[in-house]
Amino acid sequence: MTWLFGLTIAFLIAGTVAGQILKRRMRSDAAQATVANLNRRIGAWWVLCLVFGAALALGNGAVIALFGLFSFLALREFITLTPTNRGDHRSLFWSFFLFTPLQYFLVWIQWYGMFSILIPVYAFLYIPTRTAIAGDSSHFLERTAKIHWGLMISTYCLSHAPALLTLNIPGYAGQNAKLLFYFLLVVQLSDVLQYACGKLLGRTPIAPLISPNKTWEGFLGGIALATAVGAALYGVTPFRPWQAAALSLLITLMGFAGGLTMSAIKRDHGVKDYGTIITGHGGVLDRIDSLCFSAPIFFHLTRYFFAV
């Protein structure tokens, strides 16, 4: 455990130093932008490490609360980008101040039955009702769907990451923090490697209308390398090598799907509406979109096949 953490910190220090050197060396605007993007990713990695530091120091409650804060900030960005109107005000208020904290509270008290249906069922039925009471029927289905979708992605999906801490895996008791770290590491590493492979080798865009930066070369290179790292690190997980490889492949694919889907939403709304509002305060959703998609899948497969 300690060596895994120490190794990550060592890599981060090396990455931060390299990033700062590159920042001073690069002359052209395009190169500057690439280095700035890389440095933002390295910054996100430091945050990830602090999450884990907190897990070791303060216990599960602190980690759950921290993910709750990420959900809150991501939902804030999502709703800012989504045009809502006056009639949605109360639904939004309860999404932020009731459903999001409650979801994480359910993770904390380990009430799996309620945790897994609070937002898909209760929030799903509450939001349209509250909006209907507010009395504005314009674009009704569109508005309620957008709020519910934001809540599903930012809060429900992400909450499955800290929920890994609550699984009871035979022969792995007291080590769940390692599993969470492993999950975050593989998914974030896949993001960075896809980006790096795409910058170095990228030729053929996968969906040029949605995200011109996502290429087949970056996708295949990043997924393959991250899966290899995930398989090699099987020792810190309750999995056999082939199981670690299969799960790593699956979560990196889901991570890719998350990035692509969020790009499509930003292209549809953000860029032409509130895209520039976010500068300076945004970026949480950009960093965690891959985690949002992969966390529920990783949680459920681990739960079905390894937990009791």
Partner: protein
């Protein structure tokens, strides 16, 4: 002597002002832009669109500390003296100039503002007079023109406040924590011989233009 003392007190910020401004910036997720308008401590009238009770605080918090200490928001007395906390915040922390909306004679209404300008303070003004629904900026009241007419050396800076009506709309008391934006635009002044209505219209257009930048 007493006048001098008063001025020194005015230019110093309340100890709560800094932390409160940071808190306001965090709650409103405000991104501040200065477009063709240097953020420097010169005497100005900042005028903005008005859609939310948060406007006042958001604009005040967006100003850098040295400018904020010499800037006084102009606010409606009826709203701010309603309870002791509000009243304390308005006079001591925001150091606002409270004016009564129900006063009749127009010249008297402006005299406390002119006194403040005379003392060297900058002002924050909402020339629509009341909160709108956020869709459109209403016609401006004449106060902005009169103030600039009396003190022609002062410049007026348009400030566009975006999304605050979604955070705390008119008629709601619970905020939704979305991100907002405060845009300062290029200063304007009345030109020699420019009629009142033409200047007010020009000021309004200068403000609306910032939305699309």
């Amino acid at each position: 002597m007493s006048q001098l003392l008063k001025e020194r007190v005015c230019a110093r910020a309340h100890p709560c002002a800094g932390p409160l401004a940071s808190l306001a910036k965090w709650i409103t997720g405000a991104n501040t832009r200065w477009i063709d308008c240097p953020a420097e401590p010169r005497q100005r009238i900042y005028f903005a669109n008005h859609t939310s009770h948060l406007d006042f605080v958001a604009l005040w918090a967006a100003l850098p500390e040295p400018i904020r200490a010499r800037t006084r928001p102009v606010a409606a007395r009826e709203y701010w003296v309603r309870n002791a906390v509000r009243s304390y915040l308005a006079t001591n922390v925001f150091q606002s100039v409270l004016i009564s909306r129900t006063d009749t004679a127009g010249r008297n209404l402006l005299s406390p503002l002119l006194d403040e300008l005379e003392r060297g303070s900058s002002l924050i003004l909402f020339p629509e007079g009341t909160r709108g629904n956020g869709d459109e900026v209403a016609e401006f009241k004449a106060g902005l023109y009169h103030l600039l007419h009396f003190k022609p050396e002062i410049e007026a800076v348009p400030v566009y406040l975006e999304n605050l009506n979604r955070i705390l709309p008119k008629g709601e008391f619970l905020p939704v924590p979305l991100l907002s934006r405060v845009t300062f635009g290029p200063p304007i002044r009345p030109q020699a011989g420019e009629p009142k209505s033409e200047f007010l219209d020009r000021a309004r257009r200068a403000l609306c233009r910032l939305k699309d930048l």
